[in-house]
């Protein structure tokens, strides 16, 4: 079966435009090579990891723009990401291994749409937008609409995710992430989250009051979800201990977990507040 490596956007667009069959898009391959090794041998594959535009990180119109095939490694090394979006560095650091970080991409994590996807969870907290290129046109939609269910995204055949837009937040703000795993080392990267939380908070300048907070939860619902009740309890408040605890507690209202090989639904529900609190505290600490 053919395996095309697109080296420019134009080449990618042409190939997708002429395609008779549906391409399997391959970025880092770290999900595909595990889940669909056999099928890959049978389907035409389009490797998009070498399209320069998709590998670019830039600032545009008050947004951080990250190409879909930007790798974890690139995220960890990019000064723009460090400055404007340390949350994605935190999730990249908590993802897999050096080898996985060298291969795996942000777009792959989103399109794979695992309920436990770490960077996907972060993008939900960041209110990122997803740009999709399909039939010669670009469409932008909120990440929450793009991800539909476990492994399901709103992407037409031969559509490709090209970029993510992350709105910049004016200081003072902070972000935090916590990944609870079944390993004897907290937040171990080589493990799938049992429960995770990504939090972004925005403080009123010169005050202790929070203007808003965004809390996203991973591995507790069919997709990463926002904990709106927690957010409401933080909005406009001075985040002292009881407020933080109450907000963390409220996160359980957003969850609909399942039992699986890693943990029971009940446990996931029970530890959600603790996980949210850890991420929230980290975000508050970083808030300046």
């Amino acid at each position: 079966m053919p395996y095309h490596v697109a080296t420019s956007f134009a080449e990618m667009a042409t190939l997708l435009g002429q395609a008779q069959a549906r391409f399997t898009l391959l970025a880092g391959g770290t999900d595909l090579m595990v889940a669909r090794r056999e099928q890959l041998l049978e389907a035409p594959v389009l490797d998009i990891s070498r399209v320069p535009e998709l590998r670019t990180i830039a600032l545009e119109d008050g947004k951080l723009v990250i190409g879909s095939t930007v790798t974890y490694r690139q995220l960890l090394e990019a000064p723009l990401v460090q400055r404007h979006c340390p949350l994605l560095q935190e999730t990249a650091r908590r993802t897999g291994s050096v080898q996985i970080q060298n291969l795996g991409t942000l777009g792959g994590n989103v399109v794979n749409a695992s309920p436990a996807g770490d960077s996907l969870t972060a993008l939900v907290a960041l209110e990122a937008e997803v740009e999709v290129f399909w039939q010669g046109k670009r469409h932008v939609k909120p990440i929450g609409d793009f991800v539909r269910g476990p492994g399901r995204v709103d992407l037409p055949p031969n559509g490709v995710v090209t970029r993510f837009f992350i709105p910049l937040v004016e200081a003072p703000w902070g972000s935090g992430f916590y990944k609870l795993v079944n390993r004897a080392y907290p937040q171990h990267p080589m493990a799938i989250a049992v429960v995770s939380a990504a939090v972004v908070v925005k403080r009123a300048p010169g005050e202790n009051r929070l203007l808003w907070a965004r809390v996203a939860l991973g591995a507790v619902a069919p997709t990463p979800v926002r904990a709106r009740e927690s957010e409401a309890l933080l909005c406009g408040q001075v985040p002292e201990a009881t407020c933080v605890q109450r907000a963390a507690q409220a996160a359980v209202q957003a969850v609909s977990p399942i039992d699986d090989v890693r943990a029971s639904a009940a446990y996931r529900r029970q530890v959600t507040p603790a996980v949210v609190e850890k991420a929230l505290r980290a975000a508050l600490e970083a808030c300046q």
Binding site: V98, I100, A184, Y185, P186, V261, A274
Partner: protein
């Protein structure tokens, strides 16, 4: 298929391969570049790591199409670099290599690490290498090696690797260089002319009748050469260590999910897979049982003719009723442990072929070449001499490679087709089809006086042995013997029972079930200490076995009982940690726990002879022949050290031929921590014989009295006259005179059979240890982290202290997995993302302390250590969890969820 071109190790290569095939498979299979290893094919183990445009990636996740036009460097491509020599030196010198299957990948990643961070911290090393799994070393020595390499890099010079070779030193392993370079050949690294490939058709049912097998569609598949079934087995279609009850290929019935039913032979691995998918097996599902309790019910399906209880040994000493009557405190609890997978990083693999003399030869990953040979001979109905088994480099065993896996299938396929054949299990197949550690339910009742003296122990153990017997009877027997712990227990009754079920087969795994019973025993002692307000070390000191005491089987221990010394060795740390416990931070609590263990060295109540031969080669080198399998633990190094010590020779003057049934005498299996002790003693005796022979003949030739002559430094020398003959000259003289300078020695340390009450002396000697763990527990989530670990072991004599430490570190880390993360759930855990073995980051700082209480029947006082290192680990950790947060974990593993539930009084 178009040709794909990329640069491999500096040279352009072109391959015809489907572009979506993994770079790893293309490298290994199409390009025969076998430095990158296949440990999982899922990106989880790191063994396949290569540099892609200079950065480490897991080659198993890279479609080769992605590599087109790019630069790929495997460990082979580093060979000519100065950095490689430095890494090779550091890995060998620091003892970072055991089985070595993980090593080439680590070397590749380390090269990239040192480029990015020339002087990394230990934490940076752990983080950077975090995607590499090693099941042997416990990671400590790898971190040491990388830190040392960085230091050497800074210094810019390479010290010599010349280290003394004798006993008590740590010369580099003889196989280190090849393992580091990636040139050692493991089971899957052998490629033979015209070789065919095998794929096993396995049962999807836990229990079913086979109503028919239709191979027509499979045989029509291009490339498929043969489909073999039970009917093609020429000899006895049964194997098993103690009870031969397992068919090579199922006959009328399958008894577990994953049982081999048919075997496809084809010209390529892909054709074999396609063929296997087309073999039609008609199954009629039968009622199945999945727990020992259910299998013991009268209405349960009978899995074997003799009933579902495979073995039910008893050990009975004194009168437990009287013992409990005398007790002032009685504690009674039930403990459970799960199936545990060996999870060596090398899945089972090997090749088979007929050699020029028509001998069916197997080169396989194994712990026991002779048992493999004899079992395969029975299956084929051939005399054993018609077969030859050679151990391939073996990427870890831990008991799992004591059982047959690929061996009879390879033998059968080669025999049936006359072709050279290869079979390498995928990781998933290894999880599915090979043996596990027995899950146990241990009911433990213990009585003691108020001042903490044990009066009675009564234990009932119910074990799930799965579908076939494997090592089940030995495992349960060892469990009832060891369950009372290394203590003086005047009244004891232990009853065990292992039961057939439709679960995976349970066999031998490091510790032969003593880790399960030690978990129960040491938890009980911890509870007793708390109940009595005694410190747990003091309580153990009051009860521990000392020379002159009798064990629960009535065996009086005379020598080498160093338990007390191990307790004293950790007591200071214990006290220190009590005095200054770490400050609790918010939700984090800290605790310290201790546990002791004991382990009888060698087969239980059975003979276990080892034979070796030591000969003077024509060029004056001394040559050791032994079938002892080195599975990473380093027995070959230690045997050569013994030779070096006795004959006063450097390692470079020694030669080794090992683990080949044609060329080496039977040194027994690599199990029960017996190789250093038993084969070591045989080597010692053979070496002494050879030394005496050299002295006698040397004296004659020198015209001196034998008493004046010594063997040292490669010479036979007369002390009085200063005259000398080199060993090469001596060898030449022997050739002329027709003297055979070869000595064979057999050692079989005494063990007596047990009587009906389980009384007797089942082992010639025992190893002892005390473990101490410091843990951190998160009260709000149940997450546990082990911060610090101290392992004091009585090893008799550390013939190679570095190797002993390596065994201890590796064992502790395996025990950590047993304690906290590992559980095989049949049907659910099939890879390293669902079955979690410990990683670099999870490994705490480990401090091995060596106690040497000499064992007179072992070489230079040594006894075994291999399995012992993990036995006390889990209870030390769970006792520390209790100390931290006051919850008692009675069922392993202590996952965050379990700890959390216990903390919150749920279930």
């Amino acid at each position: 298929m178009t040709a794909l071109t990329f640069v491999l190790n500096g040279r352009p290569v072109s391959v015809q391969a489907p572009p979506a095939r993994s770079l790893l498979e293309v490298l290994r299979h199409d390009l025969r570049c076998t430095g990158p290893k296949n440990g999982c094919l899922e990106g989880e183990c790191g063994a396949c790591s290569v540099l892609l445009d200079g950065e480490p990636v897991t080659a198993c996740l890279v479609p080769v199409g992605k590599a087109a036009g790019r630069d790929v460097v495997t460990v082979e491509g580093l060979h000519d670099t100065p950095l490689f020599h430095l890494l090779a030196h550091a890995f060998a010198a620091k003892g970072a290599v055991q089985c070595g299957i993980c090593t080439p990948g680590l070397v590749v990643s380390t090269a990239a690490l040192l480029k990015r961070h020339p002087a990394p911290s230990r934490a940076q090393i752990r983080d950077f290498l975090g995607g590499h799994l090693c099941r042997c070393t416990g990671y400590v020595k790898i971190v040491d090696a990388v830190a040392y390499a960085a230091e050497l890099l800074g210094r810019g010079q390479l010290p010599s690797l010349e280290t003394p070779a004798g006993v008590g030193h740590a010369p580099p392993r003889p196989d280190a260089a090849a393992k580091i370079a990636g040139t050692a050949r493991y089971g899957d690294d052998w490629f033979l002319e015209g070789m065919h490939f095998l794929q096993v058709v396995r049962s999807p049912h836990p229990h079913a009748a086979i109503e028919g097998i239709d191979a027509a569609a499979a045989l029509a598949e291009p490339g498929v050469v043969a489909v073999l079934t039970a009917r093609d087995v020429p000899g006895v279609n049964r194997f098993g260590i103690l009870v031969a009850d397992q068919p090579v290929l199922a006959e009328e019935r399958v008894r577990f999910c994953g049982e081999a039913v048919a075997l496809v032979v084809a010209t390529s691995p892909e054709a074999a897979q396609r063929g296997a998918a087309k073999v039609q097996v008609a199954y009629r599902p039968l009622p199945a049982v999945f727990s020992p309790a259910a299998a013991l019910q009268p209405e349960a399906p009978r899995l074997h003719a003799g009933g579902n209880c495979l073995a039910a040994p008893v050990v009975q000493k004194g009168d437990v009723a009287a013992g409990f009557a005398a007790a002032e405190v009685v504690l009674e609890e039930t403990y459970t442990t799960p199936f545990i997978e060996h999870a060596y990083i090398e899945p089972e693999a090997g090749v088979a072929y007929f050699d020029a003399e028509g001998r069916l030869t197997l080169i396989v990953s194994t712990q026991t070449p002779y048992l493999d040979r004899d079992a395969c001979a029975k299956v084929l109905g051939l005399p054993p001499e018609r077969l030859r088994v050679i151990q391939a480099a073996t990427g870890g065993g831990f008991g799992g490679k004591l059982d047959l896996s690929v061996q009879p299938l390879l033998a059968l396929a080669a025999y049936a087709t006359g072709k050279a054949v290869k079979l390498a299990y995928r990781r998933e197949e290894s999880f599915l089809s090979t043996t596990k550690r027995h899950p146990y339910e241990v009911h433990y009742r213990l009585g003691a006086t108020r001042d903490g003296r044990l009066t009675a122990v009564q234990v009932r153990i119910l074990g799930d042995t799965g579908a076939y017997a494997s090592w089940g009877p030995t495992v349960i027997r060892r469990a009832v013997i060891h369950a009372p712990g290394p203590y003086v227990v005047p009244h004891y009754r232990g009853e065990g029972c292992v039961v057939y079920t439709n679960n995976p087969i349970c066999g031998a795994m490091r510790g032969f079930s003593t880790p399960q019973v030690a978990f129960a025993a040491e938890s009980q002692l911890d509870m007793l200490a708390r109940r009595l307000g005694l410190d747990p070390i003091e309580l153990r000191l009051r009860n521990c076995l000392r020379p002159g005491d009798a064990t629960a089987t009535g065996q009086v221990l005379r020598h080498s009982v160093g338990l007390e010394a191990t307790l004293l060795a950790v007591r200071d740390t214990w006290r220190e940690l009590q005095k200054q416990p770490l400050p609790p931070q918010e939700h984090l609590a800290y605790g310290v726990g201790v546990a002791c263990m004991w382990y009888g060295i060698g087969n239980t109540a059975l003979p276990h002879p080892s034979t070796v031969r030591v000969a003077l080669d024509d060029d004056g080198a001394v040559h050791l022949y032994t079938s002892a399998a080195d599975i990473g633990q380093g027995v070959h190094t230690v045997l050569l050290q013994i030779l070096a010590e006795v004959l006063q020779l450097p390692l470079s003057a020694l030669r080794l031929t090992a683990a080949d049934t044609l060329l080496t005498p039977d040194s027994g299996k690599t199990s029960a921590s017996r190789q250093t002790y038993v084969t070591g003693q045989a080597t010692y005796e053979a070496a002494v014989q050879l030394r005496e022979l050299l002295r006698r003949h040397g004296a004659e030739l020198l015209g001196s009295a034998a008493a004046e002559v010594e063997v040292a430094g490669g010479q036979v020398r007369c002390r009085r006259r200063g005259t000398a003959l080199s060993l090469a000259e001596l060898a030449a003289a022997f050739r002329q005179q027709g003297v055979v300078a070869a000595c064979t020695a057999t050692c079989d340390p005494p063990a007596t059979p047990l009587d009906a009450a389980g009384q007797g002396a089942p082992y010639p000697t025992y190893g002892f240890a005390t473990h101490l763990a410091q843990v951190q527990v998160d009260r709000r989530t149940g997450e546990v982290r082990v911060r610090r670990f101290i392992a004091a072991h009585d090893v008799g004599k550390a013939l190679n202290p570095q190797a002993v430490e390596g065994q201890i570190e590796g064992g502790v880390v395996m025990g950590l997995g047993f304690a906290l993360t590992e559980q095989h759930l049949p049907g659910q855990t099939r890879n390293f993302s669902t079955y979690l073995i410990p990683t670099f980051q999870e490994t705490p700082e480990i401090y091995p302390l060596l106690v040497e209480s000499a064992e007179p029947t072992g070489p230079f006082g040594a006894k075994g250590v291999g399995e012992l290192a993990m036995i006390g680990t889990a209870p030390a950790i769970t006792n520390a969890i209790y100390d931290a947060v006051g919850v008692r974990i009675r069922s392993l593993p202590a996952t965050p969820e379990k700890v959390f539930r216990a903390l919150h009084g749920l279930q």
